[in-house]
């Protein structure tokens, strides 16, 4: 045979590696403590090769998966291979080391076969708290990264001998809910251990050289398919923009701009004309912008292409230092991970509207729609209840949008009302569709929802982090915009006010927080 490895062996190895990544997610989701891991599934798993190239991923969160294709590469720039040993598990969260924001902590385990480094198991998990100025670690008023929580450079928390207790205690001493966090850390370690066991077994069956050859072949095939997919888009230069509601609490809208050039089998995405870095926590890292492009091109041009490092070779992506998407390491970024990233996708969709409208979905709730309640849980522990809120999906050329669903770069689940009430001093006194919130059009956008929280204890902390409050989800091809987000605080004493998209405040028992999520944009002029 011409190739070193036959197509059947390639498929056998692909199955085994994907199963290993899925097992990693199973282990962490089932055994973790943070509600946003165990109920929402705000976690992702990946396996990379010795150089940090992605070779397998779970069915997880697209933004994480994109970012993780940079994490190990950047990690290796800081920690040379010679320092890695079997049994190590390194933790890190620095945004500039192939990261996104401080709460997403990555556990990295090097995997050795016959004394040679061959792969890494990487478990990314969103911790319920990473320290900083406010419970839940979304400090709305942050103007620099150090206010946002503990910055963890690559730290070896576990070795073959077990846990490095002093380092772990140092870390836990700086975050809220240390017991819950320790449970999450153990779950992440167990998750990377599962990857190691599977890789060892696979290497024992096939030998690493065969696996390496299979990986190269998969990369080449994905690259070929991506080239074909890009060639299926009409050549041209397309420009698009979308806006963040504000550049921080009470600020002005800020633009994300993209210039896309499709030329044969190549595509370039230039975000240079994006606005300058903002003062508040909506900046993000170039890795997040690249993850957004990876997602968008795959969804629009080649959804079935196996994602690996080969898949993205035909892409060129540029961000401008000093802009929102490349702000420098001192800037706060916590909200940018799930807000600004989604705006990158929106800008790409708007740019491509003249080229391939039939492949696009009108604007949806491209925001986490986040509320974080902090305080004592019913079991007495300090805890944060971190809830993302989905809205209506945008409509498409062939169908209406569906109600209440997570779109594009995120795919977290909600926390059931019955679980919320059993664990926190909060009662949900209403949860229903926000009827009529979807935008009109030949096809209608999906409806958003209303969820009302009644606070049962004094002194609870609340953080808001959401977008699409000012700039609503757009329609396409003449469809109308969906209704924007609206969060209202009804105070116990009778007063009420609309909350901003980035606020930290204290609540009293009897206060009611009503979340109304956006409807999706319509598609085509209404008939």
């Amino acid at each position: 045979m011409k190739n070193a490895v036959d197509p059947f062996t390639v498929e056998v190895i692909r199955h085994a590696l994907t199963a290993a990544a899925e097992e990693m997610s199973f282990v962490i989701m089932r055994s973790a403590r943070s509600p946003l891991l165990r109920e929402a599934g705000d976690l992702s798993s990946a396996i990379t090769d010795h150089a940090g190239n992605l070779i397998a991923q779970g069915r997880d969160i697209p933004i994480h998966l994109g970012v993780m294709s940079f994490t190990v590469k950047k990690f290796l720039e800081r920690v040379p291979e010679q320092r890695l040993k079997p049994g190590d598990v390194w933790f890190l969260n620095l945004p500039e080391v192939g990261g996104n924001h401080l709460p997403d902590v990555k556990a990295i385990r090097p995997v050795f076969v016959d004394g040679r480094l061959v792969a890494f198991g990487v478990s990314l998990a969103h911790w319920g708290d990473i320290g900083g100025a406010f419970a839940g670690s979304y400090f709305a008023g942050a103007t620099e990264t150090w206010q946002e929580g503990v910055r963890i450079p690559p730290v070896r928390l576990f070795t073959a001998e077990g846990c490095d207790r002093e380092k772990l205690d140092f870390l836990l001493a700086n975050i809220r809910g240390p017991a819950e966090r320790e449970g999450d850390i153990l779950a992440q370690v167990a998750s990377t251990r599962a990857a190691e066991i599977r890789i060892h077994r696979l290497a024992g069956e096939h030998g690493w050289p065969t696996i390496r050859a299979a990986l190269d072949r998969m990369d080449d095939l994905s690259e070929a398919q991506m080239r074909e997919a890009i060639a299926g888009l009409p050549d041209g230069v397309y420009e698009g923009e979308d806006f963040l509601d504000d550049d921080g609490p009470g600020g002005q809208p800020a633009a994300i701009r993209v210039r896309i050039e499709i030329a044969g089998e190549h595509a370039s995405f230039d975000f240079s004309k994006t606005d300058d870095a903002v003062s508040g926590p909506l900046n993000t890292t170039p890795f997040v912008a690249m993850a957004a492009v990876y997602y968008a091109i795959k969804a629009i041009a080649g959804p079935e292409i196996q994602p690996n490092s080969g898949c993205y070779r035909p892409l060129a992506i540029a961000t401008r230092p000093g802009s929102i998407l490349d702000p420098g390491i001192d800037r706060p970024v916590v909200g940018g991970n799930h807000e600004t990233s989604q705006r990158c996708v929106d800008a790409i969709v708007r740019a491509l509207e003249p080229a391939v409208p039939e492949r696009l979905t009108a604007g949806g709730s491209t925001t986490a729609g986040l509320l974080i309640f902090g305080g004592r849980r019913r079991d007495g522990a300090i805890g944060t209840f971190y809830e993302t809120h989905g809205g209506g999906e945008g409509a498409r050329a062939e169908r209406d949008g569906v109600p209440v669903v997570r779109v594009h770069l995120t795919n977290t689940m909600n926390t059931p009302v019955e679980v919320v009430e059993a664990e926190y001093f909060v009662r949900v006194d209403e949860q229903r569709l926000r009827v009529g919130s979807g935008g009109a059009g030949r096809h209608r956008g999906g409806d958003g929802m209303v969820r009302s929280y009644l606070v049962l204890r004094d002194g609870m902390a609340l953080t808001t982090m959401f977008e699409r409050r000012v700039i609503p989800p757009y329609g396409l091809q003449g469809g109308e915009a969906g209704a924007p987000f609206r969060v209202t605080l009804h105070q116990r004493d009778g007063g009420s006010r609309l909350l901003g998209g980035k606020e930290n405040l204290r609540l009293q028992a009897g206060d009611r927080v009503v979340m109304e999520t956006s409807g999706g944009g319509g598609y085509g002029a209404p008939v």
Binding site: R217, P303, R432
Partner: protein, 674 residues
């Protein structure tokens, strides 16, 4: 007159029957085509095929795809939903996650099963402990009943927030709506577990199949004589009375696969196999299940046609790969399924106009299928068509058709290994230590290859392997299983509350036995605690006995947690849910097959014919074909060989040997250790 125990499994294409006469252990088995849309006729024809009249049958147990198909084909009945006021849209909201990460064209979630005009809110509210926050409002209930009458539905689901912790409001609503509609499903009866979307969706699904199940069970009851006791197979691997099944038809959602798994568990007990993976490969899907200590693992998280079916059921992992699965060139390599050639036209080898290559076509090209025989007496094989279907792919890959077919085998096995590894990993079991029990139309053909790929060394192809689900119907115990959220903390254990929850659950569970005149003492109860660390969401299963020893339960939990997740700590834990299973055992003894005298040398069985089969790239091997029915106990056949009956083919590759035990089971093992 001695009367027969009969098991009948009505599948999509064929109906299987196995009959047993208890005193002698005599068995009969047959297969007849399923009468689509007329299950009663299928049952009567199956009885006739084994030469029995209905009056000769003592117990008739049947597995049915009635409920499964109604759900999968979306032929369920319209229902109304009564929910806590303010929460009527729970089905639209769901869990908000989307089904496909990158496919924007596909709808990201299913439409709610109950449209807005049939959702009715009732003013009431409980908290998570079951305490009443807002009493059930009489006026709002009266209005709900009045509105229900205007909707023209036969069936209603009632699902209130936190009803798993306090059933009072649901009971009162249930009593009030009985005057308006004949069928009522209450969420605390269908699925008394927390998480409102999954509970409501399951309750609505139950309500929507209730009228269908009731009509069918009534018709069936009328068609068999009064002396024949009727039972149906339910999803957790036991049989239920028609009355119990009519109240909660959702228990039949996995009736078919559960019957096969039940038979596998029976064989595992009979052979004393500690850990077994059941492997049921059919035309479009493959079902696998872990059986530990002779018991099938149970799960409560399953989806059918994308809808949650939260019921205790055998933990079957289903994967979209079967004989009819299409072979394609995908990313990286060759892929199998989940698209399938379906029943029509089916694989190219079936000669009914199929042109796309399938797993069965690869098997035909390799010579495993018998060209002399008609499959099921009806389908004759067309190897040329099979070859032609594989040719274009082989050309693209620069391979010969045989090489491609051998590759298809490997990839099909790797695809099915995913299912095997999932069911073992999720239970903390090393799958390589399990025995593989292969049945179904295709299972015995792929068993050795699959076992080699997964690293298993023992394979059993049981007697009745091609009508195995019908056997499961005969050997199933009469049983009921329920799981309920209890939320009991180890740090503040309330033994009295636990006892009262336990007793209440047990009482409801054995009610159907009482109604049939059984004494409570004859019922065996199995108890499983679902335990987690405080702050986790998912629990691990820990069996326990009464009186409950909290210390021992905690220790057993930590051991299980370590086995499944690789670590454990000494933190406090919580009993999230309690699962009880009540059963009355049936004893089914099958007569052994004819055994050769041990004093005489075992005669080598004679092959029927010889064919050329490919097992690797070195060239075809002359392979003898044996008729399975003629093999006596003690017979040993060295590979390469094919052992077949009218319905299935056991492939015994070179280096493997098959032996027959006195129950008629085939054991396949490596001929000599590598």
């Amino acid at each position: 007159m001695d009367r027969w125990q009969v098991g009948i499994d009505i599948g999509g294409t064929f109906t299987d029957v196995v009959a047993l006469l208890p005193p002698s252990g005599e068995t009969r088995a047959a297969k007849v085509p399923t009468r689509r849309g007329d299950p009663v006729a299928s049952i009567l024809e199956a009885l006739a095929a084994v030469g029995l009249a209905a009056a000769q049958v003592a117990d008739l147990v049947h597995g049915t795809t009635l409920v499964t198909n109604a759900i999968v084909e979306d032929r369920v009945e319209p229902v109304a939903l009564i929910a806590t006021a303010g929460f009527e849209d729970v089905l639209d909201i769901g869990r908000a996650a989307r089904l496909h990460l990158y496919r924007l064209d596909l709808p990201p979630k299913l439409a709610a099963q109950v449209p807005p005009q049939r959702r009715i809110g009732v003013v009431e509210r409980l908290d998570h402990s079951g305490a009443v926050v807002t009493p059930l409002d009489a006026a709002s209930l009266a209005a709900a009943v009045a509105r229900l009458k205007t909707l023209g539905v036969e069936s209603v689901a009632v699902s209130l927030l936190h009803a798993y912790a306090n059933s009072d409001h649901e009971r009162r609503i249930g009593a009030a709506v009985k005057e308006a509609v004949p069928f009522v499903s209450l969420s605390h009866e269908v699925n008394p577990e927390t998480r409102e979307f999954e509970r409501t969706a399951s309750t609505v699904l139950n309500a929507s199949v209730m009228p269908i199940a009731a009509r069918y069970l009534t018709l069936l009851g009328r068609s068999v004589p009064g002396r024949t006791r009727l039972h149906v197979m339910h999803s957790s691997g036991g049989m239920a009375s028609p009355e119990a099944a009519a109240d909660r038809p959702l228990v039949m959602a996995l009736s078919g696969p559960a019957a096969g798994v039940t038979a596998a568990a029976h064989v595992a007990r009979e052979l004393g196999l500690a850990r077994v993976l059941s492997f049921d490969m059919g035309g479009t899907t493959t079902d696998v299940c872990l059986i530990a200590g002779g018991k099938a693992e149970i799960s409560t998280e399953a989806r059918l046609a994308g809808r949650p079916v939260r019921q205790p059921m055998v933990a079957v992992e289903s994967i979209g790969a079967g004989g009819g699965s299409l072979v394609k060139l995908g990313t990286g390599g060759l892929t199998i399924g989940p698209d399938s050639a379906g029943a029509e036209p089916g694989p190219a080898a079936y000669g009914r106009g199929g042109t796309l290559p399938t797993v069965t076509d690869a098997n035909a090209v390799l010579g495993y299928l018998n060209l002399e025989r008609k499959l099921g007496g009806a389908i004759s094989l067309d190897v040329a068509a099979a070859k032609a279907s594989l040719q274009p792919l082989a050309q693209r890959l620069g391979l010969g058709v045989i090489e491609l077919a051998l590759g298809v085998q490997r990839v099909a096995n790797a695809t099915m290994v995913r299912a095997l590894s999932r069911v073992t990993v999720e239970r903390g079991v090393d799958g390589r230590q399990c025995s593989l029990l292969a049945f179904g139309g295709m299972g015995p053909m792929h068993a050795v290859g699959l076992a080699r790929e997964f690293g298993m060394s023992e394979i059993v192809v049981p007697r009745f392997s091609s009508g195995f689900s019908a056997l499961g119907c005969i050997v199933a115990d009469m049983s009921y299983t329920q799981q309920q959220t209890v939320r009991m903390l180890s740090a503040a254990w309330d033994a009295e509350r636990f006892q009262s929850l336990h007793d209440g659950m047990l009482d409801a569970l054995i009610a159907p036995f009482r109604r049939q005149g059984h004494q409570a003492e004859t019922v065996t109860v199995e108890r499983t605690a679902l335990v987690r660390y405080v702050g986790q969401s998912y629990a691990v299963e820990v069996p326990f006995a009464l009186p409950l020893d909290i210390g021992a339960l905690g220790a057993a939990f930590r051991t299980r947690h370590h086995a499944v997740y690789g670590y454990a700590t000494d933190e406090p834990w919580e009993m999230q849910s309690l699962r009880l299973s009540a059963r009355i055992a049936r004893t089914a003894h099958l007569k052994p097959i004819e055994t050769q005298q041990t004093t005489q040398p075992i005669t080598q069985p004679k092959p029927n014919s010889l064919s050329r089969c490919w097992f690797d790239r070195t060239g075809p091997r002359d392979t003898p074909r044996f008729d399975r029915d003629t093999l006596a106990a003690g017979a040993r056949i060295a590979g390469p060989a094919i052992i077949e009956d009218s319905w299935s083919t056991v492939v015994v590759p070179p280096g493997t040997a098959a032996t027959v035990d006195h129950f008629g089971h085939l054991f396949l093992r490596e001929a000599s250790p590598k």
